[in-house]
Amino acid sequence: MDYTSDNLFAQMGQWLVAPENWSGERGIPMRILEHLGYTGLTMLIALAVAVPIGLYVGHTGKGRVVIVSGIGILRALPTLGMVFLFVLLAGLGLLPPIWALVLLAVPPVLSGVYAGIASVNRDTVDAARAMGMSEAQILFRVEVPNGLPVILGGVRAAVLQVVATVAVVAYINLGGLGVFLVEGTQLRDYGRLFGGAVVIGVVAIAVDLLMALVQKFAVSPGLRAGRAPVRTQDSGRQKAVASAQGGTT
């Protein structure tokens, strides 16, 4: 595209407002949809893998050492390298790069779920059991709702990482917002390169805000931190009892 300025930021601005970039198969809206689609698919698989394991380990306390070291190993893997490794092993196509992204998303989800469940006050769990809740009822009616702030925190971190990293699939011609980075580099079109980066950033922030909103509505108001307990007057009968116990002359 033809820019009217040599300034990188001016070029970026021109690229971002050019109408031809906002329509068609290769336009920004289409790329955003692809980008979010890959993110969603990655998260679905990551949640399906990590949530059950996290719930099990958090509730029973079994296998903590295994998942803690496993998470450490997963975190050390370079995602781009994994994308190429899976493509080499399994060939081109949708799923090989998605698996690489799943490996990126699993650690935060797994540690969030595990830590969320494990963080629930043991007295609360003990009381729930003593009242006659089954283990499944304890898990889903007590531990999950009370661990939700931490659990959703982990999911949110995973989504943010994936949204920012999905760009790598453009290297193997799967589209997404990464396309603008790859093309921008190859064509030395810096308006496109930086413009694409800005769009990825904006999408990531928007998704994160959406997640914050979900978190706000999903978490019970009883768990909101930093709220001072409100002391109220006890009822009249209580006072009557207190005064009946011995006043003074």
């Binding site: 006659g132 009883g222 009822s235």
Partner: protein, 389 residues
């Protein structure tokens, strides 16, 4: 065992105990024995307190009753049935459970916390909530607290909600694990009085764990004193434990003040009530309203005590604010402990006796109360040991 002989002696006609522990032992994997061959009959409709120092296995004992802890050997019978044969969650739903740290679920409102067990039993949400708000009132909380979350309540209020939750499904048995030990002494006393008041109407079988012997003697119909390692040291009424500890351990655990605390079990009916000179607070400002005895009691228009007027300072006392504050009150019919405390805590040495409406009826004197105490002790000595001294 003492428990077995005493239940036998009551004869076959006696009602079966609600809960029976039969040679129950709990040994943890590390080899540590928490409860050692414990047999205990827990009476129906009464408060049985398990008391002892840390490590005596009192909580473990209680948790074996609702299968939160499984005994290593021995059996626990409820209503004559071995609880090992019942599904643990069903068994637990038939027993209310109150713990030290309220254990309320932070993510649920107070009403929904109380409604937990009825909801587990399949009661529709609306009915369960209606019952929950009734229970709020039963435990002495304002109905609008039901919409709050546990974090918005004071410690005492949380414990009340914990009690309401335990009562929600109207279980015949209540298990209470040091429920009042985390609240301040004033609130603790309120909660104890409330529990006794509730128990008068409910007549539940209550198993109450505490490390506080005072609480045990106040609440218990029967008290089981446990020694380290889960050995039963004495199982008797609180009165008997204070009067005749079965061993040095029990005597030491009951403590130094046991002689004084035992007065709580002696009726104060025989205490002589003397007449007392009173002056109405409204007349304090009137210099012509003279006082003739060394200490005169100021009362309000309803005859309730307000404070003392020492004769030599009469001219300086013009209003209720100038009065010398008094001590505790002795309600007619209270125990000797209250009577003695009223006399000892009054600056005049005259314990103020009041009727049920709080109106002054006269004064009691420490010397006479001590004579009564001594007489009672002598006659007990005759009865128990056939000697007057």
């Amino acid at each position: 065992m003492t428990t077995e002989t005493s239940s036998r002696s009551m004869g076959g006609a006696a009602r079966r105990p609600m809960i029976e522990l039969r040679g129950v032992t709990k040994t943890y994997p590390g080899g540590q024995t928490a409860v050692n061959n414990l047999s205990l009959d827990i009476d129906r409709g009464a408060i049985t307190v398990l008391v002892g120092p840390s490590g005596c296995g009192k909580t473990t004992t209680m948790r074996m009753i609702n299968r939160m802890v499984e005994p290593t050997s021995g059996a626990v019978l409820v209503d004559g049935e071995d609880i090992a044969d019942r599904k643990a969650s069903d068994l637990r739903r038939s027993m209310g459970y109150v713990m030290q740290s309220s254990g309320l679920m932070p993510h649920r409102t107070v009403l929904d916390n109380i409604a937990t067990v009825p909801r587990l039993n399949g009661v529709p949400r609306k009915d369960a909530r209606t019952r929950a708000s009734e229970l709020l009132e039963v435990v002495g909380l304002a109905p609008d607290l039901g919409r709050r979350y546990p974090a918005q309540l004071s410690g005492g209020q949380q414990q009340r909600v914990g009690v309401a939750r335990a009562l929600a499904a109207d279980p015949p048995i209540l298990l209470m694990d040091e429920p009042f030990s985390a609240v301040d002494p004033v609130v603790r006393q309120e909660l104890q009085e409330e529990l006794l008041r509730l128990q008068r109407d409910m007549a539940k079988t209550i198993v109450f764990v505490t490390h506080d012997i005072d609480e045990a003697t106040i609440l218990g119909d029967k008290v089981a004193v446990l020694n380290i390692g889960g050995v039963l040291a004495q199982y008797a009424t609180p009165e008997e434990i204070l009067r005749a500890p079965a061993s040095d351990f029990v005597a030491g655990f009951v403590g130094r003040d046991r002689g004084f605390r035992h007065l709580s079990f002696q009726e104060g009916e025989g205490v002589r009530i003397h007449s007392i000179q009173t002056i109405e607070v409204d007349r304090l400002g009137d210099p012509d309203a003279a006082v003739t005895s060394p200490w005169t009691l100021a009362v309000d228009a309803g005859g309730r005590p307000q404070g003392w007027v020492p004769q030599n300072r009469r001219s300086a006392i013009r209003s209720a604010g100038d009065l010398v504050p008094g001590g505790s009150l002795y309600r007619r019919g209270d125990t000797l402990r209250r009577a003695l405390d009223a006399a000892l805590s009054a600056p005049s040495g005259l314990g103020v006796a009041v009727d049920d409406e709080g109106r002054v009826v006269g004064s009691v004197r420490a010397g006479e109360i001590l004579e009564l105490i001594e007489d009672a002790r002598v006659s007990r000595g005759r009865a128990n040991y056939n000697t007057a001294v």
